[in-house]
């Protein structure tokens, strides 16, 4: 169970423990909010949860996050819910070059796995995997990084959400194509324009180990969490998202 009622419902239970799931979508479609709710729900359930931020300092992120009714500051104070800036990990590892070589890529995967093991993390979000992959650059190394990370985290029973940033015009669900192939699940968020209205949408494209809905849903990000309703099909649709 993710603890997010609407998503658990369309997944017919939730994300299987240890799965690595790509949350893919263009800007402003709700990826980060979904991920943070996933972590907060986990922490409330007693699972240690970790958010690794690559692009946005966590201080700024927390200022802009939805004020969930169910959020409890105590989770952060007790260390149940942790926010870490990945650039600080780069600094600690002495990674200062823009491009990561093979050894640095492995070192990064092993370091994240080490944190997960040491802190007994059961839920992890990497926001975004796209930014990490930009520094790895080569498809082979990206594949190695994701396989290594996914295998170790799965073995530790850590369920992982990897945020994938794509442009709304792009085919596929990730920048390099490798990410979606290796993930156990793919959840796609998007913007759908219908007669001038812009609707936030969510669709489960793939989730190993479940019999999930494949329909498109309209998403709302509220203080009581993510809400979904089926996308109505009766109207004319001007363009897809």
């Amino acid at each position: 169970m993710t603890g997010i009622d609407a998503i658990d419902h369309i997944l017919n239970g939730g994300v299987p423990r240890g799965n690595t799931v790509l949350i893919s979508g263009s800007v402003g479609t709700g990826k980060t909010s979904i991920c943070i709710e996933f972590l907060v729900r986990g922490a409330l359930n007693g699972e240690n949860s970790l958010y690794l931020s690559v692009t946005e300092p966590t201080d700024k992120l927390l200022m802009n996050v939805i004020p969930f009714d169910f959020f409890d500051d105590k989770l952060v104070r007790q260390g149940k819910l942790q926010f870490v800036d990945l650039p600080k990990i780069y600094d600690k590892l002495g990674i200062d070059k823009e491009d990561l070589d093979f050894d640095q890529t492995r070192l990064l995967a092993d370091t994240i796995a080490g944190i997960v093991e040491e802190q007994k993390i059961r839920r992890l979000v990497l926001d975004s995997v796209t930014s990490v992959c930009y520094r790895i650059r080569e498809q082979e190394r990206i594949r190695d990084f994701l396989l290594r990370l996914g295998t170790v985290l799965s073995a530790k029973g850590c369920t992982t959400l990897l945020v994938s940033e794509i442009r709304s015009s792009e085919d596929g669900y990730s920048q390099w194509g490798v990410e979606e192939a290796l993930a156990d699940g793919v959840i796609v968020t998007g913007n759908l324009e219908r007669r001038g209205d812009l609707l936030r949408t969510l669709q489960i494209v793939k989730m190993r180990g479940t019999t999930h809905s494949r329909a498109k849903y309209v998403l709302d990000l509220t203080t009581s969490g993510v809400l979904l309703v089926p996308l109505l099909k009766g109207g004319s649709v001007a363009s897809g998202g």
Binding site: L199, L227, V229, P230, L232, G234
Partner: protein
């Protein structure tokens, strides 16, 4: 004045006679509009301790709130999903019990806001008012509107909520009548 009393009493009595989780089509004339609202909110919902979610696509929520204040109906358990204020570019202040949906064409967002408000009061049963099917029909085609009603009403029924769908007699078409027959458990013809 005698007519007003009879309309408010009539609607309250007819709603009270319905079983829980009922979906009702309320056929009324324009001049019965505010009496119907008073009867439904003051004489029915308050007596049954219901949390009211009032979806308005006919007039801005603030106009209804002003009328409720005149009628001295407390707003504590009445919430609005307002689908018209934004498209009217109204600068009026937003009441804390009103949530704005940008346009009456955003039917999914109406469902989401209704769900959000119901979730906020898990300990109380709800009455959801849809005001009105005729104004929604101005902005949406019959197919998508039927689909919307079908999903919304069944969802509310599964949550044990009452649904009342306003239909103004002056603007009713066969299509609207058929749609209401399909989704409603019962029909109330006010003043007949």
């Amino acid at each position: 004045m005698a007519v007003e009393v009879s309309i408010t009493s009539e609607i309250a009595e007819k709603l009270r006679a319905l079983p829980d989780s009922s979906a009702v089509a309320l056929h009324l004339k324009s001049d019965q509009y505010f009496d119907a609202i008073q009867g439904m909110l003051d004489r029915f919902a308050m007596k049954k301790d219901l949390e009211v979610v009032y979806v308005t696509s006919t007039i801005p929520s603030q106009s209804i709130i002003n009328a409720l204040e005149v009628l001295e109906i407390p707003m504590d358990h009445i919430w609005f999903v307002d689908c018209v204020s934004q498209i009217m570019m109204s600068q009026a202040k937003r009441h804390p019990h009103a949530i704005i949906v940008e346009s009456p064409t955003m039917l999914e967002n109406i469902m989401l806001k209704v769900e959000f408000l119901i979730r906020g009061h898990p300990d109380r049963n709800a009455l959801v008012v849809l005001d009105s099917i005729n104004s929604l029909a101005i902005h949406n085609n019959t197919k998508i509107l039927s689909e919307f009603l079908h999903i919304l009403v069944n969802h509310l029924r599964s949550r044990g909520a009452y649904t009342v769908i306003f239909s103004m007699r002056e603007y009713e078409t066969d299509e609207i009548r058929n749609m209401l027959v399909l989704v409603s458990d019962d029909s109330i013809e006010l003043g007949k």
